[in-house]
Symmetry: D2
Subunit: 347 residues, 4 copies
């Protein structure tokens, strides 16, 4: 059994990790760490965990942690893992970081988008970007995984095949993102206050979202083109679920929806977590609830020469904890789906 | 007092009309008409109306209607008003049609988007498109008003000034629409079944929505350019509220958000129902709930050279019944705001 | 025009007051007061108010306030009005307090339920309990109105007639209250955090809710019986709306639902804001949304000898700001309905 | 592997069964049956099932079914299983019926509450009521299980121990039930139309709910007392989740909450699916989402001499499909928790 710790165990990504890891046949959760709740029992903070974990929360102590576990998940806000991951790596511990601290490739890329000081370049160099379906090879030998953001996951799984297949013009991409509120975490703010969010739609962080450089970096890497993408984000009054509606100009406006769908079916043929909607249908967020699926739908619009792509994930699962577990599976050489395949909860 | 009738009084636009007209100082509701509920009292179907209306619902009889009222609102599904409005017009009755039957200018425009047979060309010629802020002059002498669709209202009020001011390139427009469920009406379907909609996001009618030709027709008319726009629609689990996020390439990528905001403030300076959000802020749908406002926000994204526009309305008010009352005010020569100004309900 | 101030203008009851007062023909809002936001413009905090108020928020200064206004609404948390209302009363200002500070009759009644120090007994003696339908006479000469809590309003309007008519046994009353989240105000807490409330049901403050003594005091006063009532409260994931389901043993188990409904219709015959659902139907919360109505429904259950009463209000309107305006009307000798009658917003 | 069929596979209880059975180590789903969708693939109707089932839906044919499977789940509306279960029993097939057709003990009990003709008395006699925690012994030898209703499950698991322990007076029981909308199934009606349900609270079936005789029958059987209970039901705008708030007079008003909590902890000591909230806390519905748990909380109210009990379940899991799987486990002699233990989904 792999001995793991979860740092940031009381955030929403943290408890989603606990839910998934509890179901994993090869893992033992040895430590749950949360700075703000040292000494409390998990079930006192989250009664839904009663009967599943008898662990009490602890403060982070790198040295003792390195002795007791093999792999550490960081489900922490920006600026935490950049401090502690390097120390753990030096102790030979594997780390999977769900925050943005290791997602950008160069130290200087962080400043315009993140407030904290990034980790040293050598650790950024060491990090493998954990978009599991596209980087399985590199991930199999990674010691440090930079788990992707939720929006980049939904966006890139839709976009990269079209770019690699030269279906679309890279400079024409517009991404309209829509997210459930759990993505904003458990921290209190007016933005997540029920009476302000419920029955409301809100665009936020227009032009300044920290997922923009992450998306651009990957598009550049995988398409070979340096592009700027328009990416906007909207807060939707649901708890879980994310949809990215992506627009791009077709290279060949004569292509059909059926051809695009077939291309994606082939592209993801051996990927258990990617499901392509039949031509004429589009995925809805609820069809992936609580699962690690990313479901994709496509429409060719001959009138405008656009390809419209719909990508849906559960922001806490494939968009965070689920993909982190998938990456652990890859790192450990286990089948990607180990402990992760389940029927989404519907309705 | 103007004597009015509401045909389709038991749909959601119909009861929103009743709510607004009940508050109007110059109007008397004389007839409420609904084919399916002939003879029932309004308050038996909608208990919230108890104490406000003692009218019973009737079937539509054009001849008797023409004797008893001066103006008729049609809040009916596609294909109804095209039959009855011509007869009422011949009787000299004013008509405001909330359906799509008179929105397109030419008979041949309907076939690709609508299933029913359109009205004769001469009636289409007679209809004035009721986007109140932009066509006040024509509306003042209209006998027949084609009240705009909800999406076109939100879209065009944002887009037209930018096109007229040559701020954006018309061929680059992408409109991502998001609507509350009341826009789908009271008819039963799985698409509006609570357990299927709640906690879910769904894109629908991609590339085939009947509001597409309406938007394109207006852009062409007001910008002088023949353009195809990408317009997609999403169903959001809220009852009321609509947001259109609109993307377009700037003619001058060096323009600032502040300049754009000032331009719109001037453009709509004397319009009571258009409110421009200060630079750096964006409107949310809830801030117009139950009101006739259309609130607009703007962001210039220098990185991509795009202008991003956020437009919010209450789909049943400014997107339907509210604008219909505003158009009645214009037709009658009353101040546009008569009976329509109220503080939105918040939270 | 009556010159009024709203203290606590940035809370949810405060902005609901502003919405209603803006629509009132006899009132001018002269001051909006909020300790935490001194100097800001109302519309900067609440964009939905844009175009309606050009007031900036001020700190509370009793002396200057007393010079500029005739009547002050307090929409403040517990413990504020008890300090300031006495001073304003001494200046001859009328006060309507939406908090609980003046609702209990005796100083000693507060300690078990409220944390703050109550006002002096003489001010409690001066306060008239503002359940408008039942105390219109006393209210007409009141200088200080203790506006009822939302739960007591919904409960007592259902319960008092049954007690006065000896329909039910006072010692058998069980009240199951269900409230929307706006009742918890705008203050941040995990209890009102979207992801914790949405798709969730929560019972809270069982046996210790501060509305219990308020309800008991009124039942005792109006029924002449000293009773303890069971009253529980549940948080429901809606923004506005409150339902109290009330159970009591019938004095005469042979009575019919129809007889009970007729009794209530007669009892409230001349009350514009009370609507009695026909026998066989029950009111839903949405049918009173944004209005000052309290709608009541009744079922006699012969099998158990119980009367079941359903009472619905909008917690921010009839449950707070609406009833406060109704009480102002009574205090000023205006018709109760002045500025308050509107069709509820539906759907 | 046990070969099973699900009749009514396209209802909400049906697909919840599929979700749970897909995860069960000892079961193979051989047939999915649904009258209305004969020949369609499951994943065409429910895209969330894509990749999990390649079964097509079939009509019910008892003879062929009896040859191919060992056990049949009926997740059908009232009146279906009463026809087909007897035939299957005669073929030696085990049946677990999630409808109400076999829940009442006597033929004559059905008429006042159900519309359909019940099964013959001998089949009612054969049925074992599947409240798993309380009837494990009888279930272990059952051929036919009458799976309890959702409300009876939540109610009885809270109530029975208190009755058996003589903590409360049976004649004083009031049950206030609150249910998510999925309990109403997938059939279309205005009652489940999004815009009518969302942001709304509705009491329904007051005094006539078919779960009343089921609850009374069990209370009588297990307490030895013939009682009538007051039981009301409310529709809450959430998809999944059910709470019953139960009120009863204490036999000994001097008992403490702590004593009650300890009593229940002992009572359910060896039951994996019952969790007792610590004194001073109450369970919320979300803490059992997607799981087979029933979580219980208790408050003694000395002021009124009442015991207040809060019981929460997921109406589709412990309230339907989860308990059905638990009953299958009991019938088959497997551990009750086989395939059923998972961390609830939170948030």
């Amino acid at each position: 059994m792999l001995k793991v710790a979860v740092v940031g165990a009381t955030g929403y990504s943290g408890i989603e990790l606990l839910r998934l890891l509890d179901n994993h046949p090869n893992v033992k959760i040895c430590k749950v760490i949360s700075g703000s709740t040292d000494g409390q029992m998990l079930a006192d903070i989250y009664p839904h965990l009663t009967g599943h974990f008898s662990l009490s929360l602890e403060n982070l102590d790198v040295v003792s942690l390195a002795k007791e576990v093999d792999l550490v998940f960081f489900a922490t806000p920006s600026g935490v893992s950049s401090k502690y991951v390097p120390q753990l790596l030096e102790h030979g511990i594997k780390c999977i970081d769900l925050s943005g601290d290791f997602r950008l490739n160069k130290v200087e890329d962080f400043a315009p988008w993140y407030k904290h000081q990034p980790a040293a370049q050598k650790y950024l160099d060491q990090a493998v970007y954990g978009l599991s379906e596209l980087f399985a090879d590199q991930l199999s030998s990674a010691q440090l995984v930079a788990n992707p953001g939720c929006y980049p996951t939904a966006t890139l799984l839709a976009l990269i095949p079209a770019l690699q297949g030269k279906l679309i013009k890279p400079e024409s991409i517009v991404i309209d993102g829509k997210s459930g509120v759990s993505g904003a975490g458990r921290g209190l703010s007016l933005t997540t206050h029920f009476s302000e969010v419920n029955e409301n739609l809100k665009a936020y962080k227009l032009g300044v979202h920290q997922h923009i450089p992450e998306i651009q970096q990957l598009i550049t890497k995988l398409s070979g083109e340096q592009v700027s993408v328009t990416f906007t984000t909207h807060l939707i009054p649901i708890t879980r679920g994310m949809m990215c509606t992506i627009y791009a100009d077709l290279q060949d406006p004569g292509i059909t929806t059926e051809t695009v769908v077939e291309y994606y079916q082939k592209y993801y043929h051996d990927q258990a977590f990617i499901r392509i909607s039949p031509a004429g249908t589009q995925p809805v967020t609820k069809q992936v609830l609580g699962s690690n699926y990313c479901d994709l739908g496509f429409v060719v619009e001959p009138r405008t020469g656009k390809l419209i792509m719909i990508s849906v994930i559960d922001n806490l699962t494939k968009g965070a904890a689920g993909q982190a577990v998938q990456n652990m599976n890859l790192v450990m050489g286990w089948p990607q789906t180990t402990g992760l395949i389940n029927v989404p909860m519907y309705p």
